[in-house]
Amino acid sequence: MADSVYVFWLFGIFVALLAIVGFYCILITSNLIRTLIGMEIVTKAVTFLIILVGRSTGNTGLAQSFAITLIVVEVVVIVVASGVVISVFRRNGSIDVNLFRNLKG
């Protein structure tokens, strides 16, 4: 069990780092597609966490099925999101985040 604790703790750090990188990307960019890429990196972090938990607890069956579900769902979200981005581009001719501030107040 001590081994699992160590593994979880060590690789948990990488989960946190990936999440930081992803959020950093979402926050700082001004390009909608790059925002989606940031989102994907955050998702990677979560996937990694799930697999890591499976590895640490030995419950790999559930973890894998969860991860697979997650991957399927995420791809659909990304598809729809990029569909929105493409529609935005068709409409405005640009995918600049700063044009995206009509709704406020």
Partner: protein
């Protein structure tokens, strides 16, 4: 019957989308409406105990881990009603047959996701079904592909992704202590390890994820944009039921069947409830856009639900559930009316309206009913649920919260009055002489929803003792 509620919408969708059945698309609206109506009728009769179980015979063949509780019945009923309202509004607002067909598909998909959310008892499935609903609503918001709709949709996608990440991380962390992700297993595991850092982290992340989905202050940012920029029938669905089920219902279920309400989680929920109730009402006060005002009013009403839930008593939770139902009804009613007004005037700017009650009497009267219910004026249903919440708070020793809840009622009255005055009362504004009452397919849901609100208020006694209170007692064991 629980299985059918999930399988039938999916089957209908698959059949409708078969390339061979192009002819069926012409009647797709009616098929969708019949499905939603069937859900309403089946749930209502089941609740009334008139029939044992419509689809019990089919259940053994498909094994899904679903559970039908009193709470799910209330939620399923609300889902059916709001979906019907949204479908009828779409019939009036969307002219193109093909577009309407796609819209109907998305609504039914969303309904399937909502039904699943209302019936399941497993965290991973909760995630999946919340996402089904969310993806359908992303598309619904961007349905017209106008600039505002796309912006609202994208903001919802991004903030929803943040929420999803929190949700997933928390499920993963719960898996550290529990062999299974079903509610019962997680609850049992939490009973053993309450004080672990990671378990508390997981609980916090789970709550935050659902706070974003439900639009509580300070997690509400996407909500006004999404509600106000969505096409009219989509905002009926969004405001009426989608965010409520995937955020608020999920919070009710999670906090009663996994976390134990009344502890630190209960305190967090209550504080956010107070903040949302006040901030939502204040934000609504300053709006010019009719739908945006209604959106902020949703934030405020959700605050009430959270207050009832946070009180942790049976009466409070029952009040929260009843307010949930009432809110679904009166908020969709108000959004249907907003759709009618928008359809007739072509604008949502309240400063460009005035006195249109004389031209649109049905819309005017039903919106007054919805507004009275939202503001908690007796004897409409909204009054009872607010009273239940306030009494529960007082009894649970949260006197301050109870007083705040009462005072927010004044603010609610203020912004709704301002809306009524700017839109419906007074002298008809110049240039609006030509407007006419909305089409029948908008008036039908408006009148029906108004009648439901009135009926639920007048027959509060049986509703309370037969349906609502048992739910509250079941949830707080």
């Amino acid at each position: 019957m629980p299985t059918l509620l999930i399988i039938l919408p999916l089957a209908l969708l698959l059949i409708l989308n078969l390339p061979l059945l192009r002819a069926a698309r012409r009647v797709s609206f009616w098929l969708c409406a019949v499905l939603a109506l069937a859900q309403v009728v089946a749930t209502a009769t089941h609740m009334g105990g008139l029939i044992p179980d419509l689809g019990a015979a089919f259940d053994p063949y498909i094994v899904l881990q679903l559970r039908m509780t009193g709470l799910s019945e209330v939620v399923l009923l609300a889902i059916g009603i709001v979906v019907l309202a949204s479908l009828f509004t779409a019939r009036a607002m969307i002219a193109d047959h093909d577009e309407r067909f796609k819209f109907g598909n998305l609504v039914i998909l969303a309904m399937m996701g909502l039904n699943g959310t209302a019936l399941l008892a497993d965290l991973i499935s909760l995630y999946v079904f919340i996402e089904i609903t969310a993806v359908s609503s992303f598309i619904l918001i961007a349905f017209d592909r106008d600039s505002d709709g796309l912006e609202g949709s994208f903001k919802y996608i991004i903030l929803s992704a943040v929420a999803t990440a929190a949700l997933l991380a928390s499920i993963a962390l719960f898996m550290m202590v529990s062999p299974d992700t079903s509610f019962a297993a997680v609850r049992a595991a939490l009973a053993v390890s309450q004080h672990s850092f990671y378990v508390n982290l997981a609980a916090g992340l789970l709550l935050c994820g659902l706070f974003v989905k439900g639009g509580l202050v300070p997690f509400h940012w996407w909500l006004p944009d999404a509600y106000s920029s969505a096409p009219a029938p989509a905002s009926v669905l969004l405001a009426g039921i989608i965010t409520k089920v995937s955020g608020i219902y999920a919070l009710i279920v999670v906090s009663t069947s996994i976390l134990t309400v009344g502890g630190a989680a209960g305190e967090v929920i209550m504080v956010l409830g107070i903040v949302s109730a006040i901030a939502g009402a204040l934000l609504a006060l300053g709006q010019r856009d009719m739908k945006r005002m209604l959106a902020y009013s949703s934030v405020s009403q959700v605050g009430y639900i959270m207050l009832g839930l946070g009180s942790g008593t049976a009466l409070g939770v029952a009040g929260a559930v009843f307010h949930f139902f009432n809110h679904a009804i009166f908020k969709s009613l108000l959004f249907v009316n907003a759709a009618a007004v928008e359809g007739s005037l072509g604008t949502r700017d309240m400063d460009r309206m005035g006195g249109i009650a004389s031209k649109m009497p049905v819309t005017g009267v039903t919106s007054i009913i919805g507004f009275f219910s939202a503001a908690g004026i007796p004897p409409l249903a909204g009054f009872w649920s607010k009273v239940m919440i306030i009494i529960a708070l007082w009894q649970a020793g949260h006197q301050t919260a109870s007083v705040v809840a009462v005072l927010v009622g004044v603010l609610t009255l203020a912004y709704f009055l301002s809306m009524q005055r700017r839109v419906f009362f007074g002298r008809l504004r110049e240039g609006l002489g030509e407007i006419r009452e909305a089409r029948m397919s908008i008036l039908v849901p408006a009148v029906s929803l108004a009648l439901i609100t009135v009926a639920a208020g007048l027959f509060f006694k049986p509703v309370f003792s037969k349906i609502i209170m048992p739910v509250g007692e079941m949830l707080v064991k």
